[in-house]
């Protein structure tokens, strides 16, 4: 069976309620066994400290597990922030979802799943 790649949009900081819902979605996606998650920051113009905390929580969530997480920066500013906070040294960061889906590890895993299915 082919791995399901979940793309989770990461919108700009909204209300506390919206943030709690985002956190719940994100962490439940990451907890789902055998799943890989692409966190898409394209709709988030700039990251604040709560956003950074949540992204670090995502990193911590998948540490030591098979679940893979990729970040899509969506903008140069977000990419700079991910580099400055060293998040990009532990999680692969891409400019777009298309680029993330072409990531060798993702592609290789997809191929592997395809071969197993056939």
């Amino acid at each position: 069976m082919k791995t399901v790649w979940t793309i989770v949009p990461f919108p700009c900081a909204s209300s506390p309620t919206g943030r709690r819902a985002l956190r719940k979605d994100l962490l439940s996606s990451l907890r789902a066994s055998g799943s890989a998650v692409i966190v898409d920051l394209s709709d988030c113009r700039t990251l604040n400290h709560e956003d950074i905390d949540l992204l670090l929580e995502c990193v911590a969530q998948v540490a030591g597990r098979d679940t893979q997480v990729l970040f899509v920066a969506g903008s140069r500013v977000n990419r700079v922030l991910l580099e400055v906070t060293r998040i990009s040294s532990v999680v692969p960061v891409f400019n777009s979802v298309k680029e993330a889906l072409a990531y060798p590890q993702v592609a290789a895993e997809n191929d592997h799943e395809d071969r197993r299915a056939s």
Binding site: H49, V84, R86
Partner: protein, 361 residues
């Protein structure tokens, strides 16, 4: 209140003109991206706001390895024999107003040396003056392979024409302008990339500018009152400016310049980057190939400017009175001289949009 034209600083410079004649010369320095007189007096580190698609400009008064580039230009002007100069600021790239230039002409200034403080250049001003006198064109502009250096010489014809035509001398016809080709060391200082290149060259001895501090080991300079944690690493070539605090586990260098009065918190790395004065960097950051100015960071490669405030990653340190005094004793002592000159009867001109300060050299 008097305008520069009515309170002239002129100097006689010997044996530079044609046939060894003495040349009367006035001098003006324009600080671009300065905004106002306060920016000149305080050398407040700040970038002029950038639009979405453009990189910010940095004030040319912000120190480079603890040095004030204005002072290097003032030293060069003084070596010409000029005893004082007029200093002003402009918000953008515009130069001195045409009415002020006409004022210089009315007061009988034969030649005016105008320096737009947008580059550091190891320019021989005497040679530039000699060239200008030989060519006999109204305007001479110094340039290198990258473009104009912001240094020009205007004779009385150009000054008078500026007033009559209400056009800046830069708009003079090509036939009236001569380019002085400079092949020595020059670097633009308004952009983050130019500043970082100058830092790199100064740290490796590729230009004449030297870090302001003590060389504690090969290619590592430290200013007065620096607090360096035992576990912090400093990798040369690197400069750490006066009163800066480097906390435990931080790594500074190589090719880094942390200017005076900064705080680099625990575990943060600053590499191939410049941190402008009064900047706080939070713990655990990786600053590589960037310029940080308070809460703003410009990536030197992509040119992306990120606001680090919302993420709490960096910020501007408010100056304490003690630090303010220490700063004024070093980088801005030229302005205390200017203040003394004012007290002796020199006055700032009334033009609110373009304030003037006369500085004794």
């Amino acid at each position: 209140m008097r305008s520069p034209g009515r309170c002239l600083c002129r100097s006689w410079v010997g044996d530079l003109g044609e046939e060894g004649k003495r040349v009367e010369l006035g001098a003006v320095v324009v600080v671009p991206a300065g905004g106002d007189v306060a920016a000149i007096h305080g050398a407040e580190p700040r970038a002029v706001a950038a639009s979405e698609n453009s990189r910010p400009l940095y004030s040319s008064r912000v120190p480079i390895l603890g040095n004030d580039v204005l002072r290097s230009w003032m030293d060069r002007v003084r070596k010409l024999g000029v005893q004082s100069l007029w200093l002003t600021s402009s918000l953008g790239d515009e130069s001195v107003s045409t009415s002020v230039l006409a004022g210089f002409a009315q007061q009988g200034v034969e030649r005016l040396l105008m320096i737009k403080l947008k580059s550091y250049a190891e320019l021989d001003l005497a040679d530039l003056l000699r060239f200008h006198c030989e060519k006999r064109n109204p305007v001479t502009e110094a340039q290198d392979a990258r473009g104009q250096l912001g240094v020009s010489l205007l004779d009385h014809l150009a000054l008078r024409a500026a007033g009559e035509n209400h056009e800046p001398p830069g708009a003079a016809r090509d036939s009236q302008r001569t380019a002085y080709q400079f092949n020595g060391y020059a670097k633009g200082i308004l952009s983050a990339r130019g500043r970082q290149e100058l830092v790199r060259d100064a740290l490796t001895g590729a230009c004449a500018i030297r870090p302001l501090g003590t060389e504690i080991r090969e290619q590592v300079w430290i200013g007065e009152g620096v607090e360096l944690a035992d576990s912090a690493r400093v990798i040369g070539p690197t400069y750490i400016g006066a009163r800066t605090i480097i906390r435990a586990g931080a790594t500074i260098g190589p090719f880094a310049s942390v200017e005076p009065d900064c705080v680099v918190d625990c575990g943060t790395t600053v590499e191939r980057s410049t941190v402008l004065p009064y900047t706080y960097l939070a713990p655990g950051l990786l600053i590589r190939g960037e310029l940080v100015d308070g809460g703003y960071l410009e990536n030197l490669g992509w040119g992306a400017v990120a606001d680090l405030h919302p993420a709490g990653l960096a910020g501007r340190i408010h100056r304490s009175e003690e630090r303010r005094q220490a700063f004024s004793k070093t980088a801005t002592d030229v302005f205390s001289r200017a203040a003394r000159a004012s007290a002796r009867g020199f006055a700032l001109p009334p033009t609110a949009s373009q304030p003037w300060v006369q500085v004794q050299l």
